[in-house]
Amino acid sequence: MILNKLGVKKVYTLEVQPLNSATQTTWQFPDIPFLREKYITGISLSNNANGVTSGKDNLGHLVPENIIYAAFLTLVDNTGIQFIQNMPLDELCIQTTINVTGATTTTRYIRSSNTNGLLIFKPVNIVWTKCFIYLPAATTVANLCCQFNVYYQDQK
């Protein structure tokens, strides 16, 4: 596990909140002034089956599993390059088993600590306002937020 090797230095929690009853297929990240000059070294996503169940700013419930399995993340660096293109949100979850409850309940599995655990980036300056979560099919949401833990450092 690379985090055991490198250690977690600094973490910032950011949240993406789609509009209620959203029909968009793209959810943009907000501007995050605090992270503008930071170099991001890793990112993970919380979901409402494991860990906290509501956003830190009372923005709503954390993203449910049925969206995690149907959404993709794109991140853009400060040169305008989409260095992460359409990464399934599963890849950012570091818990183990989670359940999907819908018409039928199925047990899904995600990247766990016995495989690779948290994804670590080469330190990169991210332009958050150009980053987005893409859903091939719009999903109606209400009081929902996607909460990311962003690991960063001040210097490259």
Binding site: F72, I81, D90, E91, T115, N116, G117, I120, F121
Partner: protein
């Protein structure tokens, strides 16, 4: 484990869409301009037990068919990875699909020619009940 030695530089989700039921034989990658002449550090293969649909809204390959599929990657005119079981490229547990406990296989920064690379579906596979179209999805970790 690749990420102990390499961080993630770049990632791209790529898919091979199959439009024919009960397809067998080779299914080639589409042209991927963004991945021409890049160094590939690792590849993850996804199946329907990981997520339902790809970024085009197409169903992923079923776990049954996933276990009867093989990947061939080409560098220049040489098939350097020949018919590797997709399960070896799957580090994510789920749906009783075997997974690689050592994580993502390091691919040593090789410059694959994806236009000459393909997935082979086992000849014995009948494909009954599979949705059409469906897709093979891969996460490509690379550095330019």
């Amino acid at each position: 484990m690749i990420f102990q030695d390499y961080p993630v530089f770049n990632y791209q989700l790529v898919t091979i869409q199959v439009n024919v039921a009960s397809a067998t034989g080779r299914q080639y990658f589409p042209d991927l301009p963004n991945l021409r002449n890049v160094q590939t550090l690792g590849i993850i293969a996804y199946h329907a037990g990981v997520f339902d649909k790809d970024n085009n809204g197409v169903y992923l390959v079923t776990t049954t068919q996933f276990l009867q599929s093989y990947l061939t990657l080409t560098v220049g005119n040489e098939e350097v990875i020949q018919n590797m079981d997709l399960q070896f490229l799957n580090p994510i547990t789920g749906n009783n699909v075997p997974y690689n406990t050592s994580g993502i296989i390091p691919l040593n920064g090789q410059r694959f020619d994806f236009s000459k690379s393909y997935v082979t579906i086992g000849q014995g596979y009948t494909g009954q009940g599979d949705p059409v179209p469906y897709s093979y999805a891969f996460g490509i970790y690379y550095v330019k």
